[in-house]
């Protein structure tokens, strides 16, 4: 199936819940609103065979977060994006549909402070145990001032 035929099928199936872009051969970017996310992912899995999730990326735009779900089939790559406001960063978990998404959702919780509703196991994934609460390293406004380094031998 070529890219154009696939886009026609997707438009016919999902209607106006998604906006589709095709910037390069094989690569599709679909934009969906957060409230339709789980329904669209379920439909894609059942009708289009989208079972393989590569990863979930988060991007900080300042006032909003954008979350991108990278799926792929042997013929095409689907990148599903959704945008949520920073002051109320909630998104639904897709683990009921794709169980393998659990670790990636835990990672964006740690790194951005996005709250994934309905996640079966929301514990900290990558940051150390003694990391202070409320500090999310990948946000653009989070900076880090390194403490003074100790030079053995006495010079500083």
């Amino acid at each position: 199936m070529t890219d154009a035929e696939l886009i026609e099928k997707l438009k016919a199936d999902l209607g106006d819940r998604v906006e589709i872009a095709n910037p390069a051969r094989r690569r599709l970017f679909l934009k969906v609103a957060p409230e339709h996310l789980v329904a669209v992912v379920t439909r894609l899995r059942d009708a289009f065979g989208l079972v393989f999730l590569s990863t979930i990326s988060g991007v900080d735009f300042g006032a909003t977060f954008e979350i991108i779900y990278h799926f792929s089939t042997p013929e095409h790559d689907y990148n599903l994006r959704t945008e949520i406001p920073k002051d109320r960063p909630h998104v639904d978990s897709i683990t009921p549909v794709i169980p393998g998404a659990i670790l990636y959702e835990r990672e964006i919780q740690d790194m951005f402070g996005i709250v994934v509703d309905g996640i079966p196991d929301g514990r900290r994934l990558v940051l150390p145990d003694d990391w202070p609460e409320g500090q999310f390293p990948l946000r653009k406004d989070w900076t880090f001032v390194r403490p003074e380094e100790v030079i053995p031998g006495g010079k500083s």
């Binding site: 079972v51 590569s54 990863t55 792929s72 042997p74 393998g100 790194m111």
Partner: protein, 400 residues
């Protein structure tokens, strides 16, 4: 009586800091969990302050074994952003080094698997052969690991006729040696019996948990980025995707051994068909605003980089997902209902590159909360003792 066993983070079996904790009843594991963090170095945040060329060196050092795959995946993506097409000779050299890296990584893994199964001479043999590949890589690039041969727009060093002849010689020796290992596998029933039936992962489970690489291919699910999304030279080369149907550690060994043979084929094709011309085109300092998703088949599975540019000489966002992270949920399922003595083997079978996943593992499951400390060395001794007395699995056959 169920115990909770913590293992690590410092322990002799694996070379990386991992902390395992699992609940056991007798010898059977009843639950496992994940806690990561020992290896987290904050690379994605560092990448936002370095320019495009500096990030090549940063991204290479995500992992020491698959360093070229991270660098290549990144450079592929940036070249798409900048709309550059590197010259064909440069691309051939880049993917030649990539296949050599695959050979070295699989030989390393075979040694580790042999070591975990108690077959130490196999470990010594494969690592000795690995030195042949390291010498070839040092000859091409100047360093045994972290080759730094990629640059945006092509590669940095060229290879000449003498080096080509040496590569073909080295690969011929390795092919003979690898075939000898297959005979060892076929005629060593204790080795095959030790690894058959261990770490079962059915095809449905592999698909549901999004497993990648040889772990998924050993369960019969044939996904390989080199065939699906052929970047650069792979659509001109003739090779097959290696799969196996046994869904266990034996299948994973077979898949990797088959991939070794395919890689030798590909290296020969690339060296003999190396086109003439330049090796690099000049790259601009800034990239136009845009985003790109770059995928690559590293020795451990699918490596994916997502790069977003905003028109300056630094990226807006670099997201890296290394293959081992994709295999962790599958590992938990494999460990469940397994034996303690099989833990080192199951864990080693996914070819964990924990530094790639930028983290370490704590497998925890709490039932009674009781703790007892067992080191990996003890586990391995228990495993070897157990397998000595176990009846050899008569129907475990080396499928080659």
């Amino acid at each position: 009586m169920s115990f909770q066993i913590p293992i690590g983070p410092q322990h002799p079996a694996l070379k990386e800091p991992i902390s395992l904790r699992m609940t056991v009843e007798g010898e059977v594991i009843t639950g496992a969990d994940i806690r990561l963090g020992y290896n987290h170095r904050g690379i994605e945040k560092l990448a936002e302050e370095r320019n495009w060329t500096q990030i090549i060196y940063l991204v290479e050092r995500i992992c020491g074994i698959c360093s070229h795959s991270h660098a290549t995946c990144y450079v592929q993506g940036v070249e798409k952003l900048m709309e550059l097409v590197p010259p064909r000779r440069g691309m051939y050299i880049r993917y030649l080094v990539a296949e050599l890296e695959r050979v070295h990584s699989h030989l390393l893994w075979l040694g580790v698997a042999g070591h975990e199964a108690g077959f130490d001479s196999f470990f010594m043999y494969t690592w000795r052969d690995r030195e042949i590949v390291m010498d070839l890589l040092e000859m091409i690039s100047g360093n045994r690991v972290h080759y730094a041969i990629n640059t945006i727009g092509g590669v940095r060093r060229d290879i000449d006729e003498g080096q080509k002849a040496k590569i073909l010689e080295g690969v011929a020796i390795l092919k003979k040696r690898s075939e000898y290992y297959f005979h060892i596998g076929a005629s060593e029933p204790s080795f095959v019996g030790r690894i058959a039936g261990v770490g079962m992962l059915s095809k449905e489970q592999a698909i549901a948990l999004c497993a990648v690489g040889p772990t998924a291919r050993a369960s019969g699910w044939d996904r390989d980025v080199r065939k699906e999304d052929p970047y650069a030279v792979y659509d001109e080369l003739d090779f097959e995707v290696a799969t196996a149907d046994s869904c266990d550690v034996l299948g994973r060994v077979v898949v990797r051994v088959k991939e070794l043979l395919e890689s030798y084929k590909m290296i020969e094709q690339m060296v003999k068909g190396l086109p003439d011309g330049d090796i690099v085109v000049k790259a601009p300092r800034k990239a136009k605003a845009g985003e790109v998703v770059s995928r690559y088949e590293a020795p451990r599975g699918e490596n994916i980089h997502y790069i977003k540019a905003n028109g300056t000489d630094k990226p807006e966002r670099l997201k890296v997902r290394a293959p081992t992270l994709g295999n962790y949920p599958a590992t938990l399922v494999m460990l469940n209902k397994g034996f303690i003595a099989d833990i080192p083997l199951i864990f080693a079978a996914i070819d964990p590159c924990i530094c790639c996943a930028e983290r370490a593992v704590t497998l925890v499951s709490a039932r009674s909360g009781e703790e007892s400390v067992v080191t990996m060395g003890d586990l391995r001794r228990q495993a070897l003792a157990r397998s000595k007395n176990a009846p050899v699995k008569g129907n475990a056959v080396w499928p080659f």
